[in-house]
Symmetry: C4
Subunit: 383 residues, 4 copies
């Protein structure tokens, strides 16, 4: 009998025996006890149904990229400098002609009602209270108009195309009409994601809605017309000419989200994109793709400052953000942390998550001897 087996048997025994009735749960955690972003994760987990929690937190296939998103930060060391005045810290940046209070945005993630009934309405209020801009997903639970009505900071719109390209254009124009400041076209999802947790949880994620269904059986069969029964998206049919068209009609800065190579970043600039977001979709699409922080230097170098380079995937600490900014990113987006905040405490949780990240960034800058975002460069780093 192996150790693993013994433990498993113990667990089954513990679950089955009345002798092992457990004492009642400790008092639930409170918002004011949250010290860092990780603290929100187990609270959210305890409040959410397993399929919903795992939808938010899981990655694709073996979750190798998901893990690498965290471990690669450890390979970058911060070199603090001292005896420099750091009593005044300024986190603001200017992006597409607009001032942002801090270089941290809420990344686009779908269907926030899976996590909290107020969904994106709570998220946008919480983010705004903390001073953070937000990118709203095409797959939002609430209409963009309703979300925009609650926003007090810049909103951007994340775009998935559907089979109807005219409908896509309508979507973009609607976003612009509602005051969105930029369009983020997701480029890394030509097929739906191979997320096995969702399959095991019988969770079907489709455009703009989440529902339970008989997915486990051949979870790749839903798109019967696709090759090999794969769950293809319409985006599989797009090429760079679509970027040309979108940039032409959007009348807003268009960013390509999901870029992972210097080559695609240069192509993005050549095809009119106003920026790129280096992203592996939070480890949720091609497992085996690199972490974004390891690709960032070569992408920044290739783009040569022609367009801003933003980044997401795996950022959990102010020091993570500091590293990306020092490499040359203009801003950082965070996806799961505000969802943990939302799931754990609703709007207040989102606000606190964004404040913690902002304060950690400021704190790390102060301890490293840097007062402004513009002063950050690669002399701060050691590999």
């Amino acid at each position: 009998m192996t150790r693993r087996h013994a433990l498993r048997e113990f667990a089954r025994f513990a679950a089955a025996s009345p002798l092992l009735a457990l004492p009642p749960q400790a008092n639930p955690a409170k918002l004011e006890e949250m010290i860092n972003v990780f603290d929100f994760d187990p609270i959210a987990k305890s409040k959410l149904a397993k399929p919903n929690y795992e939808y938010v937190t899981g990655g694709s296939w073996d979750e190798w990229t998901l893990k690498r998103n965290r471990t690669e930060f450890d390979k970058i060391i911060l070199l603090p400098r001292f005896m420099r005045r750091v009593d005044k810290l300024d986190l603001s940046i200017t992006l597409f002609g607009e001032k942002l209070d801090m270089p941290i945005l809420v990344a686009p993630t779908g269907t926030h009602t899976m996590v909290h009934p107020d969904g994106e309405l709570a998220t946008v209020r919480g983010a705004g209270a903390a001073g953070a801009a937000m990118v709203v997903s095409t797959s939002s639970s609430y209409p963009l108009a309703k979300i925009a009505a609650e926003a007090n900071r810049p909103l951007w719109f994340q775009l998935y195309t559907g089979p109807d390209l005219d409908g896509t254009r309508d979507r973009v124009e609607n976003a612009r009409a509602l005051g969105c400041k930029a369009i983020c076209l997701t480029v890394d999802a030509p097929y739906h994601a191979p997320r096995e947790r969702d399959a095991r949880n019988n969770l079907v994620r489709t455009f703009g809605e989440a529902k339970a269904g008989p997915r486990r059986r051949r979870y790749s069969e839903e798109a019967a017309t696709s090759p090999f029964g794969l769950p293809m998206r319409f985006q599989a049919t797009l090429d760079w000419s679509f970027v040309d068209q979108l940039c032409a009609y959007a009348k807003l800065p268009v960013l390509l989200k999901g870029i992972l190579t210097p080559e695609d970043a240069v192509l993005a600039a050549q095809h009119g994109a106003a920026g790129v977001i280096v992203s592996n979709h939070g480890g949720r699409y091609l497992d085996g793709a690199p972490s974004t922080i390891e690709m960032l230097p070569s992408i920044v170098d290739a783009v040569e400052g022609r367009i801003p380079v933003l980044i997401d995937s795996g950022f959990r600490r102010g020091t993570d953000i500091l590293k990306a900014l020092a490499i040359g990113a203009t801003a950082v987006l965070v996806g799961r942390p505000p969802l943990w905040g939302l799931g754990a405490f609703g709007q207040d949780g989102v606000q606190r998550v964004m404040e913690i990240l902002r304060n950690e960034l400021a704190w790390a800058m102060g301890l490293a001897g840097r007062s402004t975002i513009a002063s950050l460069d690669r002399t701060l780093l050691r590999y």
Copy 2:
């Protein structure tokens, strides 16, 4: 009392005490719940006697090479490209003048009746239903003729020589007569394998049969005439002149299976081999040998396209296969996965395993921006 000790004691206690009688097993797993290839492993384990399961799954000595076969894939990163049409995916290849629906074959493994009573008959039916070619082992449980009668895809024949070289030639000619399309001569097994699990399980593996016996006691003594009591095979007496002879009389493409160095790959081409299979025998022979995926680049480079380079050992995910193909392999063979499928669900399990691998490969190609096998190259990879 150490922690390990405490756990061991707990395990023994749990096994001995009637108080700890466990609730009945959950319902057995079903084929439609299998999401990936790993899922089949514990099912097969639960259905097989321990010696049989460990014979299939174990490796040699410390199983260092067995583990390295998995970990080395993690050192290769996939660099996806986007905004390329990927709605049509084609996995077919042409090999020795014949079209294969996919670049994944069932590797030769012996004695499938150790795993399922239908043995290779079930395997070849399942593989065929998924569109996969199969390599039948010299040590198959059923006669090649019976297996060939069930095949609807190309069969190849794996060759071990015996002490009777004329018999070897008969075997090759029989395979050709039965329609086999290629001969794979295994070159890495001049002695039987130092697999300690088999010794501990008193399992004797000999030519074409498996039976329990008093093997534990001096498990190297069975071949009394060998040096140091080692279990020598007749193959220990062969040299390259045998390859010359075999290639001369086979009248079929001859592949050498077990090649691990650029030097031997070049020698194989010089001695008339039609291809090589880079293999460490699934970590089952010389422990301390490299993983195959780490040797593949230098072997492909050395061969310079003169003959196709195939590969096996440790492939479990479509992304693993994608990495090998991008390095330059023509096709990939998988050994344990179809055996897990066979042990878990018989013919249907084999079919599902091969379909999963095929679909994962296609899915990974789509997410990486590649539509055909021919389009795969090393620009997809980062080390």
Copy 3:
């Protein structure tokens, strides 16, 4: 039910059930049973309140730098040489014109009464009995005059500035008047430390005192006038001109403690510092900063012998100290080890800790074929 969950449930069960009443504690450990410095840690832990123990032992944020302080020593290998007389070993050094019996000093740490009621009085007696010099913190629990009265080895004074720069000068002059031999200005703490353990323990650490308070709630809010609610120190307003002033009026050697880059070490020498202490504050300030042992070679090389380079952070073994001295450090400071000794056994514990480190250093030198500190150089090392 996962394994982790099963274990957690077991723990709760064990805590709740009277059946699991444990046998009485074994006899308490004795000083003469302490073999190495690590042995003191669990004894101190068992005797201290959790907030106090964690204050001493914890690091900042994810404690990454705290861990790296230990792991980087493992990357340096010692190359012993033999057939050299080593029956006479001499550990003494001369620093700022004064002979020290050994190149190991007690590092400045604050508020020793958190660990033992006799505080720094016990520490200085214990250190002196072992022959070690000590650096007294600005935040000491007892007045410097009282501590100095107990010292029989050189004392140095660690300096934090307060908002009143005149008061700072008074502090320095007082130290000189009381016989301190050097001033160590801490440069790496412009803000208070992001130590989450302290926040969770509701521990407030301010200048010279420790008290419990409602810190958990927004633990960054205590300094309301700081940017982003960060706990700023007056030191955030200082720049190199303060070093110029301090060196001018101190009339003692001034060392800058907290230097982590060659650039700052060179600046220190240029601004009149008599030495630098390479330190990351024991992993207690900027998490993500490098270990000191990995930065030491480049700092020693940059300073080119103009001023002595001392080092602290993570030293626990005589071999750790040997590595730093061989790289080129003049002396090593240890912070937590004497505090463990103090917490575990008071003055005698401090003495024994310092003796153990001294003896281990001598022993390692003897086994490596080196008899004097001056004979240590980088030929002893392999990376």
Copy 4:
């Protein structure tokens, strides 16, 4: 309550409660069930008092070098070649004009009666039965004459000097008179070893005897006249002139055992040594020293074939031995494995251990395509 704590509590609970009385031990293990060298370790452990077992198995300080002795083998990969006749394998070598059946010797270790009452008498009989030469320690439990009387293979004599250099010469001449074929002077032990397990076990190891005593209290104080209370050996006073003298009067090949640098290996040759044994004393002296297998290449290169280079420390598998021989070692010594064999099964255990290592080496050579020791070179290796 942490997981570790829960487990510890469980262990104490399990030990204290009559409910948890365990079923009787399984039948004791038998010699014929031993498959590899590791198998003997737990058997020996179960039969020996803890201080004795830990004396044999433990290392110095943090046992870092002890662990590195194993892990560094993993960085060397074996590159097997095929289609080479390997049906005849020859392990014999010629060393100092004498033929040895295999390039594996029993390393000198002290006081075998700590492990088995028959001590070195059983060891030398078992080694001889397997065809292995043995190096007898100065600290043997039985007189060299008695051991020599049982030997049927070459014996070498390991030399420690005592304070009486004339006595040392007598010892050497006695060894020669008793037929020893070489002298191995241990050079890496100028002080006794910092082995904390022995200190915690109150074990005193002195010249030629082992007894329990009050060692825990200041375990470094036993040699009161040494610097810093360290347990100095007379060898601390020696230098290279002693090697000159020893080589002059020994009239036997003199090997220096404990060499870890190319520089000392070259000095050894220059001072008349007939060979060196690269050794870190099994990780039992300077912790932080390198593994021997990582230093071997540079030592072999520096010696340039002038004298043979032997090696020990951490060899447990035939493949470990194969790696050292391929780098350029002439032979390998093994210390703990025969002691495990002796402790577990007496003379028969020693024999079986040495046979297993011999057979594994032969088996690995066969599987790698090498038939003789002379054919081994660095083309077999990949780093």
